[in-house]
Symmetry: C2
Subunit: 315 residues, 2 copies
Amino acid sequence: MRVTLKDCADILKNHQSFLILTHASPDGDTLGSAFALKRALQKIGKPSFVLCNDEIPQKYSFLWEGITNDDIDFEAVISVDVADRKLLGEKINQEYGDKIVLAIDHHLSHRDFAENTYLCDKASNAENIYSLINEMDIPIDAGIATCIYCGMATDTGCFLFSSTTPETHKIAAALMEKGADFVLVNRKMFETKTASYLKLEQMALSTIELHFGGKCAVMQITQDMFRESKSNDGECDGIASLPRKIEGVLIGITIKEKSNGNFKVSVRTVEPYDAAAICANFGGGGHNRAAGCEFECSLEEAKSELLKFIGEKVI
Amino acid sequence: MRVTLKDCADILKNHQSFLILTHASPDGDTLGSAFALKRALQKIGKPSFVLCNDEIPQKYSFLWEGITNDDIDFEAVISVDVADRKLLGEKINQEYGDKIVLAIDHHLSHRDFAENTYLCDKASNAENIYSLINEMDIPIDAGIATCIYCGMATDTGCFLFSSTTPETHKIAAALMEKGADFVLVNRKMFETKTASYLKLEQMALSTIELHFGGKCAVMQITQDMFRESKSNDGECDGIASLPRKIEGVLIGITIKEKSNGNFKVSVRTVEPYDAAAICANFGGGGHNRAAGCEFECSLEEAKSELLKFIGEKVI
């Protein structure tokens, strides 16, 4: 059932303790949303536990600085920034996928799986958490503000993407006035590249192929590259945006080999091309300008299928 | 003489036509400031001419879309975002450096050269132009809003740098509501890399040396690299921020060979290191976190002098 912000607040009021689930391969928006909510619930004396299918990269440690996960028998399960129960990750989906009382999400491609769903098309899910915390009249302290800012900055590429709204900027201003450590978040999220990541980026850039008269760029990242550069998936948040940055490219595709041999495809587009529609054709989804899907075949087959579809149906 | 915002408005009211000067090697803030001011003056029927010592890169053409430079005998000369008359560029400095009626600037390192100087320490000079246009009660249309947004986004790295304030975000929100084409600006300024620039970036990255236990990184760009990559200076706005992005680096230095054989040095720092103080030692200046200076010697000598000073006096 789709619910309002007030319904969300009521659900949080009517339960005493919570398990907060993020999506797998966690990013700054799902984690920022989860820890902002946990910090807010703590302020009204309600314990909660943030759980993720995958290991959370150390660079996010500022999100839980000064707080601890409460080891509790929780009353209600909440998911944040999760568009599909499959995205919880296999283990978490199996254990909790059908027990979620409230899903708070901002993906228009959301596939209902929770008892109650609050879906609002904001630039980041953290903005929904900001609205919810305000709805509940919980004062936003510097810790909460930093978590929400992290989610917003992550999903807008630091206010760069077309999904950014005047509201996004107004909330950012309000969070900074409440003490959000935006300098720390920006440095951790956008201004720090490890030497190993720089090496991987150079290797990936050298694989870029242009198709359809330069309108589509395809970049490859293999497990071999991860090994040779000593880089890893956790360092690669922004790498999928590179192919689309080349002058004239309207559809940028990154094909990344996963450790299980499957391929994760990230699509980034410029108007009018719809990344979510391209990925939906292959069982994936996302936003208009940024979406993803997965292939269980060889890299060459995945690339060929993608280019065939784009050539025939898109460009 | 230092003047107030109201004095600035009076100076603009008391003259009928203007020459607006930007700094040499123009960037999005000096150009955004100049064309926002020109567009605002046009709205009150006052012609003006924007002049720059160097050729303005084509990617900025959206700033003057729909308007033309008025070929006039101007009454007053204004400079925008110019911290020192030397930065006007040799030719313009010679011709107009001692004839400037009003300098509008945001660099704390500003060295007075104009009859009247409005200096306010904002994240970008475009924010000063925003305040001035409001002070004059000139309505901000989409064209003006786009120019101001361009200046703000340029000087804050799209709201990334520590100089960003809540006020910056509030103005960005207001400009978007007035129709600023932020998607276009962000794409032109931050999301478009030419193939030649990508090649140059890879060549420059391969020169990076770490010093002082990894706290200082030095990157080199030579005229040979420009030739080999087919890139050019006009494409390289953001490249000076790369060395400081390496994990652990607190002082990032870019040494770029100019076409006349001199070397332009850009310094980017993390707190507590003061980039302006480092550059001031070599006759340059700028902001706390980003500054520049110039050397008339060999690249090796420039690097050696910089590292000697940093090793003895800074780190």
